[in-house]
Amino acid sequence: MSWLIDSLTSSLGRKVLMALTGLFLILFLAVHLSGNLQLLKGDEGRQFNIYAEFMTSNPLIKVISIGNFFFILLHIVTSVILNRRNKKARPVGYAVSPTQSTWASRNMGVLGFLILIFLIIHLKGFWYEMKFGSVETTDYDAKDLYAVVKAAYSQLWYVAIYVVSMAVLAFHLSHGFQSAFQTFGLNHIKYSPIIKFVGAAFAIVVPALFALIPIWMFLNS
């Protein structure tokens, strides 16, 4: 077993953990977005509420959601360990900072930390409310999460936090997506341009659509 622990705790192994958990979270983002876009359907949240009820009661989804929380945690813990190692590798910094790489790639830790703060606000606002708060039940036997979302998104500062956070997420994804494949050793003249294109598109389209939801609901409130 020691070879397995050695592999996973080596600098390369920890990077693979970052890449694996990162790609899982990217998948989660896509699923989460497809669910959330139902908020814009214009049916006073009926379809969204039924979907939310399903997502919080289906046993299979529950297992996936536990996995999701675990992967978020693993992504954070691994990044903290790597960050400490990286800081130790350069105890004295430069007077003139190097700039031979993209800004996002040099600031993944800071971007990730901002996303974590957003996650806490986001989970407190909706997930916690749905699970432990007092959300009213609709006449079609689903909690009216839509009303909670609508109330939240009628406040300008709340919408602003969401839009800024999605910009942060976009930068995080712009490096993270393609970097994960490089960590897996997938760097090929045929596939790398495709990975870079899909990564860039994902990093723009997904956060933009996420940001559109609060903006849209604010404008229609």
Binding site: D6, S7, S10, A89, R90, V92, Q100, T183, N187
Partner: protein, 250 residues
């Protein structure tokens, strides 16, 4: 050319160190950066001061000794050259140039701009070799190697181990160096025998030396005087996990 130099001065590894500002005048644009430092040092010696210590050897870009971090970039503003190949015509009259040593815990500063890069040697000792029986020279075409593969191996083998990759990396990671040294052997038939233990041992040594992890920023390849490609880092990742999951080393 008249220039202002901000140079890192540090007596020894335990000294805190700091920047000193010097003025040099009548510098020819045809001088190399190191020749400009020779002028500065002659000036300092005449003034009875300690000359600036810096590493250099071949002064033709192949030994990997020169190692100055100039204005925020290892080996200065130009691409694909070492400090010794950098000419003063790359700067303007009146410029202020900041010169720092490589900054990495595994490259402790010996004095001024001189760092101890023997951590790289220990990584090589851990596996950057092949074991062959000595004897007569084998026939040139006895082992067929496709031209493309030979080129790739040769590209990786051009690494001179200067450490610019570590210096430029925000994590002071040695991945580009190690990946080049693993690749040059992993690509060729002669490197197959020790293929698995090589990558396992070299990565373990890299981690032991205290280099940072790779964030795939690409800064290493951007500053590499030999333009070692990031595809080598991908290959290192593949080689490492293939070896870890299939070798007999438990």
């Amino acid at each position: 050319m008249n220039l202002t130099l901000k140079v890192w001065r540090q007596k020894n590894a335990s000294d805190k160190g700091g920047f000193e500002t010097y003025n040099v005048s009548d510098i020819s644009p045809d001088m190399s950066f190191l020749e400009m430092f020779d002028v500065l040092n002659e000036q300092l010696v005449r003034e009875g001061k300690d000359p600036v210590h810096f590493d250099h050897d071949c002064r033709e870009g192949i030994c990997g000794m020169c190692s100055m971090y100039i204005n925020g970039k290892p080996h200065g503003p130009k691409d694909a050259i070492t400090t010794c190949q950098l000419h003063m015509r790359s700067f303007n009259d009146g410029d202020t140039i900041t010169v720092e040593p490589w900054r990495a815990a595994p490259f402790p500063i010996i004095k001024d701009l001189v760092t101890d890069r023997s951590s790289f040697d220990r990584i090589i000792q851990a596996g950057g070799y092949i074991s062959v029986n000595t004897g007569g020279v084998p026939d040139a075409n006895e082992i067929p190697i496709p031209k493309k593969v030979a080129d790739e191996a040769m590209d990786a083998a051009t690494c001179i181990g200067c450490g610019a990759c570590v210096a430029a990396c925000k994590n002071a990671s040695a991945m580009l160096f190690v990946s080049a040294k693993v690749s040059q052997l992993a690509l060729l038939p002669q490197g197959q025998v020790e293929k698995k233990s090589r990558v396992e041992n070299m990565v373990a040594q890299m981690d032991d030396e205290g280099f940072g992890a790779c964030t795939n920023t690409g800064a290493c390849s951007a500053v590499c005087p030999k333009e070692i490609s990031l595809t080598n880092i991908a290959r290192l990742n593949r080689e490492y996990f293939a070896a870890k999951s299939s070798s007999d080393n438990v």
